[in-house]
């Protein structure tokens, strides 16, 4: 484990975002000024406000249009299963309610032709062949170090060779066909619906001598005991104090550097226990972070890496029909798309790649954190 305790910075003369403290929970009544050593290493902490898949909408990305919404693909499935048009019309007439539900839920067929739950067995139907992203616009990082045909160009940095196959798989669905700073519907609903009750996501950037340029800094992710609190606009209140949850498994540390105000990290393992409604566990391998800081002291960042695609699939599929019909994300279609585009971690036996590259975006507001040792002491 780590700790970001130690020196605390006075707040009077510097600009207002210099404010991350790791303070002893026992001494909250006074924040003691500790003697500084020769190095003026500083740290800032943040609490994540919004977290989502990094999405961008361009015409070139989806030249053949977008994948259909659920009423269309359910009708398609009913047709494939042999229903007549008038039967389909009848089954779908009260969409989204209606008799079609059990049929589409169990539209998978086993070897003997028996119906099976399609969400549990997404392979049990023919590949719906989702349209994939064909253009070049995609956020992220060059994870494999190569520039290949199936790589993207990052809209912000312009960098080529961006690995973001997750984007390729889902980018041409209605749900994800939106550009940051607007947030895709499903990730927004997931995140917004859980952040009031789920421990906040904390980030600390420490060991910083110069916030414009420093070749050696540390970036630490933690989970808090407390959830965020909202302000009048529904956003995360800045400057709240959070206690790092010492019992969480969600601590990830990365080495990083700041160049001209932009923070980047070396590859690291990002593991974060999230809310089951979002993703039970984030388990990004070869993860990177790229972040900038606004005048108000807020953090604007991208997080990329490889993720076991089935975990991604299950995070969606656990919602079954409820998820599938309301988000317009054809689940077996997503499964097949992910399987097709997965680009890392080949199965030694089958050679099928098990992980897919992906990029997320988040913003975070300044926060104070209390280190886990100090929390543990007082519990």
């Amino acid at each position: 484990m780590f700790s970001v305790c130690g020196s605390q910075l006075e707040s009077n003369k510097s600009s207002r975002h210099w404010r991350s403290f790791a303070i002893s929970a026992a001494s909250v009544a006074s924040v003691a000024l500790m003697a500084q050593t020769a190095s003026a290493a500083e740290s800032k902490s943040f609490a994540v406000n919004m977290f989502t898949v990094a999405t961008i909408q361009t015409e070139e990305n989806c030249p053949h249009g977008l994948n259909p919404l659920s009423d269309v693909y359910y009708e398609r499935e009913l047709k494939r299963l042999g229903y007549e048009p008038d039967e389909i019309e009848d089954l779908m007439k009260d969409f989204p309610s209606g008799g079609y539900q059990p049929i589409v839920i169990n539209r998978g067929r086993d070897e003997d032709g028996n119906p099976v739950n399609i969400y549990a067995h997404p392979y049990a139907q023919p590949d719906p062949h989702l349209m994939l992203v064909e253009g070049k616009a995609g956020y992220g990082f060059n994870l494999d170090g190569k520039v290949s045909d199936d790589d993207f160009n990052d809209p912000v940095t312009g960098e080529k060779g961006i690995d973001n196959q997750l984007w390729r798989a889902i980018g041409c669905t209605h749900n994800y066909h939106i550009s940051l700073p607007e947030i895709a519907l499903y990730p927004y609903a997931q995140w917004d619906g859980t952040r009031d009750t789920s421990g906040a996501w904390l980030i600390t950037v420490s060991g910083v001598d110069d916030w414009n340029n420093d070749s050696e800094v540390t970036v630490t992710f933690d989970k808090a005991i407390e959830p965020i609190i909202r302000d009048a606009n529904g956003n995360t209140v800045a400057d709240m104090t959070f206690r790092v949850d010492p019992s969480s498994r969600s601590t990830s540390v990365a080495k990083g550097a700041i160049k001209n105000g932009e923070l980047t990290t070396e590859p690291f393992h990002f593991f974060f226990v999230s809310d089951p409604g979002v993703m039970p566990e984030f388990d990004l391998k070869d993860a990177r972070v790229r972040a900038t800081f606004t005048e108000d002291g807020e953090m604007d960042a991208y997080l990329g890496g490889f993720h076991d695609y089935m975990k991604f699939y299950w995070a969606m599929a656990q919602g079954g029909w409820t998820f599938e019909h309301s988000t317009g994300l054809d689940l077996p279609g997503i499964y097949n798309a992910l399987k097709k585009v997965a680009d890392f971690d080949p199965d030694p036996k089958t050679g099928q790649n098990r992980a897919v590259s992906g990029t997320w975006w988040f913003d975070a507001v300044p926060a104070y954190i209390i280190s886990p040792e100090n929390v543990a002491q007082n519990q």
């Binding site: 006075e10 707040s11 009077n12 003369k13 510097s14 600009s15 207002r16 404010r19 403290f21 303070i23 929970a25 909250v28 009544a29 006074s30 924040v31 000024l33 407390e226 609190i229 302000d231 009048a232 606009n233 956003n235 209140v237 800045a238 400057d239 709240m240 104090t241 206690r243 104070y368 209390i370």
Partner: protein, 568 residues
């Protein structure tokens, strides 16, 4: 009963101790501090007042009478502030038609809750012989008991019988004993005997030719002063027995009240009034620019200040003036986020917090409750803050702006060269027409510019560092801390609180004689005793002037207003 009486020649100054002993009727052998109080000329006193209950008082009394879970509702006719206090404005308002309508609705809701099945046996103390019939004995017993609290004196026989008769008749009309009693109780809740705090005077046997408050009026004045509440059983008993007409009896009650935890409520009531917290009801902040400030935070801001005051004045028995320098306070997590300081607490728990030594804070002057209340919705206002400092804390009136200001001279505030408000208010400081008044407000407000409109700390505005230097009546300062110290040491700070405390207690501006006495005697006492607030409360509560009634000049000969009912 009041006599029309005339003053003897006004005595200048205060009389000798020997004469004083004779006048105050001290029993021999009293050795407490009270008997060594210099006596006060009997014409130091003022008229009685009739005050409308403030919203705060109304709610407190209902909760005391019928339980904290009773929902009082509203809306209340707005209280009016005069001479800095709602407690004084209360003696100059009546009840509008809409207001009485509202009181009636509130009363109906309150009594319905009171007579809900579970509660009613306990409150009633008796069960009617039959649920659908009048039961005068049971009704009388209840109404007499409740009436004494509500009218703050025993009901007269006529008043009681009228209410019993009303309950009787209402029971017949409504077919239910409890509903009938509800109706009768409603009439008491809307009665002027409840809604207005009356004071009656009577001849003072210890000072022939002069008047004093009658016993129940003394009880009422004491309890609203020290507890912001109607008199309790023991105080009413002390009134009934005549104990309140003795120095010893008064001291006993006052000391009992000051020792009680209820005195914290009294102190809160006083400071909520003085610090104008009622304005929070209609305070609005721009949600786009300052989303941290919401209803919960506004409530917490007031609570923070009141807790700080109670802790400092009553628990720590601190020096009143240090309220403007102390770095000790209480915070919740959301409030800490507002001030941008770290604080761990369980959700909205209150936790003691001490600002670091060198923090730019000035006690309650830099609390969110002060800086946010006296600011615009989306920007600060050094003028409003400076004015509040003068009027609220120093009791100094700032003149109204002249009606014909030529605003052409106010610089265009959109001018990008003017980055800070100090620069934008330059006209206030340089134009002869403006300087006179603005120099007594702006410099203080400008010292608080590190605090934005909701109380968040900042060191610069539009990229320009904030200059917080100035002076207050000759005491120079370079920052908010310095301002706090200047306020602490300003003689008006202590004379103001003495004046306000007394006004609050008597419900009006002090008369000239009272002001002189406050300045010569009470203030000096306050200073000599380390500016202790509890001591000040005691000093006022046991003083002769506090219960003394003198005639208001001139209006005894005014004809009674035509108050007969118009032809309907």
């Amino acid at each position: 009963m009041r006599n029309v009486f005339k003053f003897g020649a006004k005595q200048a100054g205060y009389i000798s101790v020997a004469a004083a002993l004779a006048l105050t009727g001290c029993a021999p052998g009293e050795t407490d501090m009270a008997s060594s109080l210099p006596a006060v000329s009997p014409d130091v006193g003022g008229p009685t007042v009739v005050r409308r209950l403030t919203r705060n008082q109304y709610e407190t009394i209902i909760h005391d009478l019928f339980g904290k879970s009773v929902v009082v509702g509203g809306p209340f006719e707005p209280d009016v502030r005069e001479n800095g206090l709602l407690a004084v404005g209360a003696s100059n308002v009546s009840i509008a038609s809409t207001g009485l309508e509202s009181y009636t609705n509130m009363a109906r809701n309150i009594v319905a809750q009171v007579f809900e099945s579970e509660r009613r046996e306990m409150l009633l103390g008796c069960t009617p012989a039959a649920v659908d019939q009048p039961d005068d004995a049971c009704a009388e017993q209840f109404l007499e008991r409740v009436g004494r609290y509500m009218y703050r004196r025993p009901l007269t026989e006529d008043e009681l019988q009228d209410r019993v008769a009303a309950a009787n008749e209402a029971t017949k009309i409504r077919g239910d004993f409890y509903l009938g009693l509800e109706t009768s109780l409603v009439t008491m809740l809307v009665s002027p005997n409840f809604l207005f705090i009356h004071e009656s005077s009577e001849p003072d046997p210890n000072n022939p030719g002069f008047e004093r408050l009658d016993a129940y009026s003394k009880a009422t004045r004491l309890s609203f002063f020290l507890w912001n509440n109607a008199p309790d059983e023991r105080l009413l008993d002390a009134a009934e027995s005549g104990a309140l007409h003795t120095r010893k009896g008064v001291i006993e009650q006052v000391d009992r009240m000051l020792d009680s935890p209820q005195v914290a409520e009294g102190v809160r009531g006083f400071f909520s009034d003085m610090l104008e917290f009622d304005h929070f009801d209609t305070l609005s902040k721009d949600q786009v620019l300052y989303p941290k400030f919401n209803f919960t935070v506004a409530e917490a801001a007031q609570e923070q200040t009141l807790r700080t005051i109670v802790d400092h004045l009553l628990v720590k028995e601190g020096d009143y003036r240090d309220l403007y320098t102390t770095g000790n306070t209480f915070l919740t997590r959301p409030l800490a986020a507002l001030y941008q300081v770290p604080l761990s607490s369980l959700s909205n728990e209150w936790v003691p917090y001490e600002f670091p030594q060198d923090a730019q804070q000035a006690g309650i002057l830099t609390h969110a409750s002060f800086v946010s209340l006296h600011s615009h919705p989306a920007r600060t206002s050094p003028t409003l803050r400076g004015m509040a400092l003068r009027e609220v804390l120093l009791c100094q009136k700032v003149p109204d702006p002249p009606g014909d200001v030529d605003f052409k001279i106010v610089q265009d505030t959109e001018n990008p060269n003017f980055k800070t408000v100090r620069q934008r208010l330059d006209a206030h400081a340089s134009e002869p027409m403006c300087v006179g008044c603005h120099k007594i407000t702006d410099p203080m407000g400008l010292a608080l510019e590190n605090y934005d409109t909701i109380g968040g700390f900042r060191t610069s505005e539009n990229g320009e560092p904030i200059d917080t230097s100035g002076s207050l009546d000759g005491a120079a300062f370079t920052d908010a801390k310095g301002l706090g110290l200047a306020v602490r040491n300003n003689p008006s700070t202590s004379s103001c609180i003495v004046d306000r405390v007394y006004s609050y207690g008597v419900g009006r501006k002090p008369t000239k004689m009272e002001s002189d006495w406050l300045k010569e005697i009470v203030l000096k006492d306050f200073e000599a005793n380390g500016y202790q607030f509890r001591n000040l409360l005691r000093r006022v509560a046991i003083s002769d002037p506090f219960f003394r009634v003198t005639s208001p000049e001139a209006d005894e000969s005014a004809p009674a207003l035509a108050s007969a009912e118009p032809n309907n």
